[in-house]
């Protein structure tokens, strides 16, 4: 009988097609939930579903086992339609221990399905999770569907034959669980088996054990063993999402930015010099690039963020494209050196993977609160272009665009991403690189006629890029105000006025080579525009889509270019009755829009270290139009 059947989708509004499912794997940092999630993501992608993920792990490296702050979770939203967020509330929660259940169950949709490893619900773990009674038994989970059994024990049995130590054997738990999940959604195990074989190439027995656990979990689902209580679990097949033909892969923001930087420098036919200093969540870019030396990439782990950017500036001076990357606190330290790059007009790309602030803040949580710092955070009148990536896939093109602007205008450029984009994975249609127009850099090798002017200008107001080593063009640059054209030290009032305006005009002129602002959903003009930037793209897009489905007059505008802004943005914004700006900060883009266009942009702010929920934005839209 229906009610007796556990249904991962019983939580979906009755009658609604099973368009998408949200599953969250939660366990101890030691349980390998990120791995489980990653592999489940892969199989989901291979199954042709569209998807979005949200890894959420603790700040501690390996918090003590069983503690509440040690819980690591991985959420995936996948379906047969276009997916742009990791989903609001999960339909299914896999809880590997009491702490994981405690910290995650409140998010589960009413009626949602809980799969719990009863084997981990002993007194010690219950205590660590601050449970007085065992929630699996005291009925406190009544509003959800509960499926609990001893995964630990089942795993141990499944790997007995390999004679692993108890600790090692239990490490296979996550594969057992993955096996069950694969069965639930009718997935192919082969790719994961292949992956396990390569991962454990050096220790075949571990490969075999993990594969055995994976198969056992899968078999457990199949051979309706589940629930001696006579319950069954409905297997689900989510149809593949319609997607244009082509080759696909999954990509995280950290990967795509690294790839985009490589592509950009190759398109500019420049070597890349990357000066970095580790910091969460920016480190991954340093890690990725350090493996790509065959693409003329040199990575340098400096002694601090100041040395990182300073070395990148030195490399740009010497004819490479200097790139540096950090997050909030590290970017703050780079402020003075950014000013030097602005004054010396050297190309430079600064990637900021934003995290929760202020100060050390919440290193592993996401936020968009460094926009002020990017646009305004320097001494003096120091204009610098700023662009922001909206998603892991989008970050690839943004990185290329950042490189283009840096070299075509001889200016530092800040590329904003955030912890969510950096870690989240999404399917990515592999781009056809031949479709990208190269923009090779030409270094000046002979003086302009009339004599060499290091601070002479082209039509873009760009000064020449001269490589040390070029005979006859020796010159000196520095952070003191420069004379027009000659670039010599110059303190005169008129010159400072002129140079300040030149620096401003050069950067504002970038608007000539960026596309006009388009409208994601809806059209120019109307009652309400929801204007976003960065990783809020997903929730805004879905919220506007749903609101429009309900017949509401609302459009979605999403900015890539934060500074300078597209030429048409002012007119576009003024064409709407109201403007709503959702941001994961206290209202920073809002300030720029109000200043630039004197439009009454209203903020919608979330600063919890978590991405917006679609519903939160939907509600704000309805309120604005009420």
């Amino acid at each position: 009988m229906a009610t007796a059947v556990l249904d991962p989708l019983s939580s979906v509004a009755a009658g609604a097609a099973p368009e998408a499912v949200v599953v969250r794997f939660a366990g101890d940092s030691g349980d390998g939930m990120q791995l489980t999630g990653g592999q489940f993501t892969l199989s989901t992608a291979l199954a042709g579903n569209d998807l979005a993920t949200f890894p959420d792990f603790p700040a501690e490296i390996r918090a003590p086992q069983g503690t509440l702050f040690g819980v690591s979770a991985f959420q995936i939203n996948f379906g047969s339609t276009d997916i742009t967020t990791a989903g609001d509330a999960p339909d299914v929660l896999v809880a590997m221990n009491p702490a994981a259940l405690k910290t995650n169950v409140k998010d589960l949709k009413p009626g949602g399905l809980i799969i719990a490893d009863a084997g981990e619900f002993g007194d010690r773990n219950l205590a660590k999770a601050k449970y007085d009674a065992n929630p699996l038994e005291d009925g406190s989970l009544a509003k959800w569907q509960l499926l609990s059994f001893d995964i630990s024990k089942l795993t141990l049995e499944s790997v007995k034959e390999f004679g692993l130590g108890n600790k090692e054997a239990l490490r296979c738990k996550n594969m057992w669980t993955l096996g069950l999940a694969l069965w639930m959604f009718d997935r192919d195990r082969d790719p994961i088996i292949d992956w396990l074989k390569t991962k454990f190439a050096k220790a075949p027995v571990l490969a075999d054990a993990n594969i055995a656990a994976l198969n056992a979990g899968h078999a457990y689902g199949e051979t309706a063993e589940i629930g001696g209580a006579g319950l069954g679990l409905r297997q689900l097949n989510i149809a593949a999402a319609p997607a244009p033909d082509g080759l696909y892969r999954t990509v995280t923001g950290a990967e795509s930015i690294s790839l985009g930087l490589v592509a950009g420098t190759q398109l500019a036919s420049l070597p890349m010099f990357f000066g970095g200093y580790p910091i969460t969540p920016a480190s991954a870019i340093l890690h990725h690039l350090s493996r790509l030396k065959e693409y003329d990439v040199t990575t340098f782990q400096a002694e601090d963020e100041i040395a990182a950017i300073a070395s990148a500036i030195g490399a740009s001076y010497a004819g490479s494209l200097g790139v540096t990357s950090s997050s909030g606190p590290g970017i703050a330290l780079k402020g003075e050196a950014i000013g030097l790059a602005i004054m010396t007009e050297l190309p430079l790309v600064i990637v900021n993977s934003q995290r929760g602030g202020p100060s050390t803040g919440l290193p592993t949580k996401t936020e968009q609160s460094d926009l002020y710092q990017a646009v305004y955070g320097r001494n003096g009148d120091a204009p610098m272009p700023v662009i922001a990536a909206r998603s892991p896939a989008d970050a690839f093109d943004c990185a290329i665009e950042a490189v283009r602007i840096a070299v075509q205008y001889m200016t530092p450029v800040m590329l904003l991403t955030d912890g969510y984009i950096a870690n989240a994975a999404e399917p990515w249609k592999v781009p056809d690189m031949s479709s990208y127009a190269p923009f090779p850099v030409t270094f000046m090798e002979t003086a302009q006629e009339g004599g060499f002017l290091p601070y002479g200008r082209d039509e873009k107001l760009k000064r020449p890029w001269v490589k040390p080593g070029t005979p006859g063009l020796m010159h000196r640059i520095g952070g003191i105000e420069k004379a027009l054209n000659t670039g010599h030290i110059e303190y005169s009032p008129a010159n400072h006025q002129a140079m300040t305006e030149l620096r401003r005009d050069k950067v504002m002129g970038i608007a000539d080579t960026i596309p006009e602002q388009d409208v994601e959903l809806g059209q120019m003009g109307g009652k309400l525009a929801v204007v976003g930037w960065g990783s809020t793209f997903g929730p805004i897009y879905q919220a506007v889509r749903r609101a429009r489905a309900k017949g509401l007059d609302v459009s979605h505008i999403h900015l890539r270019h934060i500074w300078p802004m597209p030429r048409n943005l002012g007119d576009l914004l003024r064409s709407y009755g109201k403007i709503l700006v959702p941001e994961m900060n206290t209202g920073q883009l809002k300030t720029v829009l109000r200043d630039q266009y004197l439009v009454d942009a209203k903020p919608l702010n979330k600063v919890s270290g978590q991405p917006f929920r679609i519903a939160e934005i939907e509600a704000a839209i309805e309120e604005a139009l009420a």
């Binding site: 992608a45 593949a240 696909y248 490589v262 040395a307 000196r476």
Partner: protein, 342 residues
């Protein structure tokens, strides 16, 4: 385009059209001349030479040398220079810094460039004061230095640049002073050393710290005050009447009298530029009780940072052909074909 060949070059060729903006009588002028005299001798070419500096009177240096130059920001010259050298290891990189620029705000970068052993020459102009900001005491100022920020005298113990360099892992430590005729030789040795060569140059800031080094720089004090070290030569000074020997009991250095030239008898140490223990003792010799050790105190090369980086990059890239399309297509992929989905 004047492409010059080493032979043709003279000190004059290394002068720029910029007016030199140091105070009349500043020791920096003498150092500039010494460098401009040295460059032709070592066969440097303006286009392949880069002077990188921080901020300070001393750091104005690059504007006055006809080569590529980068007057960066306070304390960061070593970091900028590291990027320059890694981006183009063929460039001959000189860093010019001061006791404030290189040891106060920039001490950490000085340490790390020495530790990594980037091939470059680091000239630290030590005038024991902040010149450009009008005379505040610096990390090398002597205890009790009265300055605008220490009207009652400074109380902190001064840093010892050469000792700091050795502690940071320096493989070359040299010393000279602005008006010394030997300065070019020290600079040449520094340039000949493959790796980070640290040279402390005592410089007279006649406006804010006049003659603080006169005790050994002035002619009349040269004999007793200057110990010029030479590889393989005994550590003699005072026209050979005195020498430096090891006190076996205390395991420290001591000054000994040399009777009619028989320095062996007096146990005078023969200078071995590769002896690190002795180098440590030399840089810590308290001036007064001892003369000032000058010249090449320590010189024992090891592989350089940029060469190791270049080598690793080459090795790692070996056999791999850059292919953007392949790169973006990496990882586990899948194909969507028309009609594939239901």
């Amino acid at each position: 385009m004047n492409d010059m060949t080493p032979v043709a070059l003279t000190p004059k060729d290394w002068e720029t059209d910029q007016e030199v903006r140091w105070c009349p009588g500043c020791g920096d002028y003498a150092i500039l001349k010494a460098v401009q005299r040295t460059l032709p001798d070592i066969g440097a070419t303006p286009e392949n030479t880069v002077f990188v500096s921080g901020i300070g009177c001393s750091s104005r240096f690059p504007y006055y040398v006809e080569s590529y130059g980068f007057h960066t920001i306070h304390g960061r010259a070593p970091a900028v220079a590291t990027g320059v050298k890694l981006a183009n290891p063929d460039l001959d990189v000189w860093i010019v810094t001061g006791d404030g620029d290189g040891l106060s705000i920039g001490g950490n970068h000085t340490m790390h460039i020495l530790r990594r052993n980037l091939d470059c020459q680091i000239l630290l102009f030590n005038n024991e004061i902040y010149g450009l900001t009008k005379g505040q005491y610096s990390p090398t100022s002597r205890e009790g230095t009265k300055s605008p920020s220490t009207p009652f005298g400074s109380v902190d113990h001064p840093a010892k640049p050469a000792a700091f360099a050795l502690g940071s892992g320096a493989r070359f430590v040299g010393r000279g002073f602005d008006v010394s005729k030997n300065l070019p030789d020290v600079l040449k040795a520094a340039h000949a050393h493959k790796g980070a060569a640290f040279v402390e140059i005592f410089q007279n800031c006649i406006v804010y710290n006049k003659d603080v080094f006169a005790d050994f720089t002035e002619k009349k004090n040269a004999d007793e005050g200057q110990l010029w070290l030479e590889q393989g030569k005994p550590m003699l000074f005072a026209k050979g009447a005195k020498g430096i020997a090891l006190d076996i009991e205390k395991l420290t250095l001591k000054v000994v009298m040399v009777e009619n030239g028989d320095w062996q008898a007096a146990g005078v140490i023969v200078h071995d530029v590769t002896n690190r223990s002795v180098a440590h003792m030399l840089v810590e010799m308290p001036f007064g009780a001892f003369p000032m050790a000058l010249g090449v105190l320590y010189d024992d090369p090891v592989p350089t940072f940029e060469s190791a980086v270049v080598q690793q990059n080459a090795l790692a890239a070996k056999g791999k052909t850059p292919d953007l399309q392949k790169l973006v297509s990496q990882g586990q992929t899948w194909t969507v074909k028309a009609g594939a989905e239901g």
